[in-house]
Symmetry: C2
Subunit: 160 residues, 2 copies
């Protein structure tokens, strides 16, 4: 992952896409969100969703999975170039978590992440605080998911 | 689940508690958030978390699981009393998703949900829109998780 100083506002990462199969939707729902419209095609069709719909927590978790995979890919590439790799810290929270349209069985969601703001931490000057908007768009180009995430990103040590 | 008319602002539901074992933390992380501090005890100890920490998406998903279980329990009890059971609609989104403190392996988190605001939908007058704060508190009484959720709750048909 890049250091704080190597990131620019507006930078956009393509996180790749994920197809929400009926099987994956039902598997997640059975574990964490066993509402009928997430478990059964007919119940989904008869709900406000209009079809078997992925749990919002499933959509958020898949976005997280792609974010982590992208970060690991970036770290590997940086290491291969002989660069120092920054270890990002945890996220203190997310804001404006929105499920704008249903994600139905068979939908392919393409996720992106874009840097919206950056500042240095007052309490911990060795860290920067980055806000990034993660979004998911379906195969019809409709925005289905959006969240504003905060992350701690290490700053380069002075002189390194 | 209750109808919109049967809910009061300030009403609080005890959703029960969940112990985040190291095994459960690693299993979720391997699927959805494979960052080292969610997968390995030593990496966790060396991170800002100070121990093997649950993914925030795991904490949110467990809260969802307990919410759904509580709703199903309420629906069953209402049905046993011969009452009509309301089928709640989907959530359009969550706000102020906060992971305030790490959830470490062995922590037991007690979840609650409290109604913060209620209004009827202008677009769909047969639905009410409820905002509820879901929270998680650890065995030391520290608030570790908080999110403001929006839900569509059906109103009783006139005359029913």
């Amino acid at each position: 992952m890049p250091f704080f100083e190597d990131i620019e506002i507006g930078a956009r990462r393509d996180l790749g896409s994920f197809t929400f199969t009926a099987e994956a939707i039902k598997k997640f729902a059975a574990q964490f969100d066993p509402q009928r419209f997430h478990l059964d095609e007919e119940a989904g069709r008869n709900s406000l969703f209009g079809g078997l719909a992925a749990s919002g927590w499933h959509v958020g978790s898949v976005c997280m999975k792609l974010l982590v995979a992208d970060g690991q890919r970036q770290a590997k590439e940086a290491a291969a170039r002989g660069e120092q790799v920054a270890i990002w810290g945890p996220s203190p929270g997310f804001r404006e978590l929105r499920w704008l349209k249903p994600v139905l069985a068979g939908d392919t969601i393409h996720f992106f992440s874009e840097v919206e703001s950056m500042r240095t931490s007052e309490k911990r000057p060795e860290w920067g605080i980055l806000q990034g908007r993660h979004t998911g768009t379906n195969q019809r180009g409709e925005l289905v998911y959006s969240v504003l995430a905060t992350a701690f990103v290490p700053r380069r040590s002075t002189g390194s």
